[in-house]
Amino acid sequence: MTTTRSAARATPTAQAGGFFARLSSTQIVYLVALLVMIAGSILVATTGRNFFSPGNISAILTGTSVLGFIAIGQTLVILVGSLDLSVSYVTSLASLIGAGVMANRSENVLSAVALALGISAVIGLANGLIVAGLKVHGFIATLGMGLIISGYLATNYKGSFGQTPFSFRLIGATGLGPVPISTLIMLGCATLVILMLHRTRIGHHIYAVGGDRDVARMSGVRVPGAVITAHVICSVLAGMAGLLLASRLGVGSPTVGSQGGYDLLSIAAVVLGGTLLAGGKGSVVGTLGGVLIFAMLDNIMSVLQINPFLKDVVRGVVIVVAVAVYARRTVITRPPRFGHGGHQQELQP
């Protein structure tokens, strides 16, 4: 997809000039990630430490996995023209169900995972049905769903609950060299979602519905199907993030999701990754770039022992600047009304 896009853009943007104009938004994200990496390695070196040490790389990648799961799902939901603000509560709920059902027994792992993801899927289904069927905007529908889950959690769980067995905790703790298993699972999910978006009908329909619901409907696309699919997958991925947190913490927690601020952070990562907030355009690959940027920023600021409030300021600046750059690019890459050697000429007899 990315290649098709940049190829298609090559003609109109060549004359518009400008370095940024020639890059796809995904390329910009990774360029920014590269810059952050260079800046980070220099800054970290000044403290006498190595940014590229296996330990630090592992720490950064670990930081990508939880947000990664959620942001991949959020990408789907945003692409289809909706939003999911309930993800962080689903994450908490899944961690509690997972740790609760496991109760420190290895033989319960499978059933716990299945139940946690199943309940997550049901929540996603409910979100999707409310958005597609009742025509409530995703923002409101999932805000409401988030509040419902949050209320349930606050009434029924006063603190951490359950316990994950050692075998399950390994998932969050081991890795292949510096690459944590959890990151590999997250990248596996990303690959499946990318495959779905580009190689299945439902994937194409998710883009179409987000681009223009009426056009999609008039072309025979089942709009609710696309919306519901995106919401279900998003919730399931949020559930996986919850299980991963349970694996790391060893227990389930009713606040682990909301404390992470994953709802807004995942939306920020998606937008940073070049996906249009209005839907219809964007990519999971871009989102992963956005997640990576956040993870590296966090890591650098932790190593430099920067005041945590300043961290948010930095994140905020990055998001705003990134989106401003995209907005500027959209202006530049507007198709030329006329051109020297443009399309019009080809059409004339």
Binding site: R201, G211, V215, P335, P349
Partner: protein, 536 residues
């Protein structure tokens, strides 16, 4: 998708006489207002059937009922003898009836192939096969004689004409036996129209029945064998095109002959009333607007003068920079070099707001996207500019607005009606009223009569004459050459972002086209679609 090969010659031979589509006694009302009453028509294989009528006559409603977008109240629709009732556009597609709607229906960020096969992407096993999809699209475009469009191009990167062609290709790709087209050339100019002609003819040769809705009567006569005229939701008549001419067709459409299609010039207002005349000497009045060597990213070396009381037409192909010129003068995409003067004083507005303050108005090409807030009332729309730029004048203008509505003959329930429920012609009048409310001295018009009916067109022309008589300057961009020729005191022709030349009033379409296309004179290419009476 159906397996029947529509180009099968033998089948066509046998079934030439059996209609592919019969509509009988179709009736439809919205909220108690009948919009279609007892409408009937018959379409044969390979026939191009023109459907004409003023806006609001019920053409689009008829199209939408056939396409399954609206449900009929009563009547029957027979497709190859079988009674059908579609509740969703997909059902119409499956039955072999496709519609190219007036509004563009492409996803800008998807490729041509993805747009065409949306909803039925070709698969290999369970996965979508991009290779198959692109190959099928290339074949389809090739078969329509437009292989120059790449299947992998983003719809966004295509010109308006190419987008329209992709929409038609999409309609064809459903193996359609019947294609209805609603104003397919509304956004096209000269050579692009001839491309569309080619496609329509190819489809007709394959035996596809075509319902062709257009306001451009020349196209109707060029393409159609049969013409059905709708008026006020009823069929006035169906006749072979050969038995009609411009004049008789217009009479059927409006129910009366249009005597003065392009109104004569009005006598200029007295010198005292004309500010420019009062200020300047009689020998050399100051131009209202003067550009010299002006340019920006899309325009270069623009020099022009607009005198008080003058109507200057701007012609050129789609994409020649006509709209960009108006946007530059209006400060929406400002000039960044050269000089621009208003009344002899330097003025280069850097935003529409500054332009409005200097007395410039722009009636945009796309009234729905740039001219109106569709879900606001007539009154709110008409007061939009005054409120934004001259809030102090709002209350006095509010009283005048009703007057300007009645002088423009706006047909609406009341001032609180939302403009989205008005016909195209009435919407355009609201846009005009909105700009008249700020009493501009220079009026920029971009395709002022696109997609509006004959009656509304005449109202727009009268208004232009009246503005000129009041000493205002009018700069009009239009793709309809008869309109440019019929209304302009002078004609500027643009090509590739520059002024290719200036022609006096009374120039021919051929002279304009020669300038617009440069050295390459498309000998047989049809000029821009003529509307009523332009060449009668």
């Amino acid at each position: 998708m159906e397996g029947i090969v529509s180009s099968d010659a033998a089948e066509n031979g046998q079934k030439r006489d059996q209609p592919v589509l019969e509509v009988r006694g179709l009736t439809k009302s919205f909220f108690g207002n009948p919009v279609l009453q007892d409408a009937s028509l018959t379409l044969h294989p390979g026939e191009v059937h023109g459907v004409v009528g003023e806006n609001g006559a019920g053409k689009s409603t008829l199209m939408k009922i056939l396409a399954g977008v609206y449900q009929r109240d009563s009547g029957t629709v027979l497709l190859r003898g079988q009674s059908v009732q579609f509740s969703h556009p997909t059902q119409a597609h499956e039955a072999g009836l496709s519609t190219v709607f007036q509004e563009f229906n492409l996803l800008p960020d998807r490729t041509v192939a993805e747009n065409i096969y949306l909803g039925r992407e070709p698969r290999k096993g369970l996965l979508v096969s991009r290779a198959k999809m692109n190959a099928a699209t290339a074949d389809l475009l090739e078969s329509l004689g437009i292989g120059s469009i790449r299947p992998t191009a983003l719809a966004r990167s295509l010109s308006v004409a190419e987008q329209q062609i992709v929409e038609i290709a999409k309609a064809v790709s459903y193996d359609a036996r019947i294609i209805s087209m609603d104003e397919p050339t509304a956004a096209l100019s000269g050579p692009e129209v001839s491309l569309l002609y080619g496609i329509v003819q190819r489809l007709s040769e394959r035996g596809t029945g075509i319902l062709y809705v257009s306001h451009r009567l020349r196209e109707i006569f060029d393409l159609c064998q049969t013409i059905t005229v709708l008026k006020d939701g009823r069929i006035v008549g169906t006749k072979p095109a050969a038995e009609l001419d411009d004049a008789s067709l217009v009479r059927m459409m409006v129910g009366r002959p249009i005597s003065a299609y392009f109104p004569d010039k009005l006598p200029a207002a007295t010198a005292a009333e004309s500010p420019a005349a009062a200020a300047g000497e009689t020998a050399a009045p100051t131009p209202l607007l003067e550009l010299e060597g002006a340019g920006n990213d899309q325009l270069d070396g623009i020099g022009l003068r607009l005198m008080p009381g003058e109507i200057v037409g701007v012609a050129g192909l789609q994409g020649s920079g006509r709209t960009e010129l108006l946007h530059a003068v209006f400060g929406a995409a400002p000039f960044n070099r050269g000089s621009m003067q208003m009344d002899g004083r330097s003025a280069r507005p850097h935003s529409p707001r500054q332009a409005v303050r200097q007395g410039i108005a722009l009636i945009t090409e796309d009234r729905k996207a740039q001219g109106l807030s569709l879900n606001q009332s007539l009154l709110d729309n008409a007061l939009g500019v005054v409120r934004a730029v001259f809030p102090g004048r709002t209350s006095s203008v509010r009283r005048e607005v009703a007057g300007s509505f009645s002088s423009l003959e706006v047909v609406a329930r009341d001032l609180d009606q939302e403009v989205q429920y008005l016909s195209g012609g009435n919407q355009q009048k609201i846009v005009l009223a909105k700009w008249l409310a700020v009493s501009p001295r220079v009026v920029l018009l971009d395709e002022p009569t696109r997609g509006i009916d004959v009656g509304a067109k005449v109202a727009v022309y009268r208004l232009m004459r009246q503005l000129a008589a009041e000493g205002k300057g009018v700069l009009m961009v239009s793709s309809e050459l008869p309109e440019v020729i019929g209304m302009s005191d002078r004609i500027l022709v643009m090509r590739d972002g520059r002024l290719a030349g200036e022609l006096p009033a009374g120039s021919t379409e051929e002279e304009i086209l020669r300038l617009a296309t440069g050295a390459r004179v498309p000998g047989a290419a049809p000029e821009d679609g003529s509307t009523t009476g332009g060449t009668a």
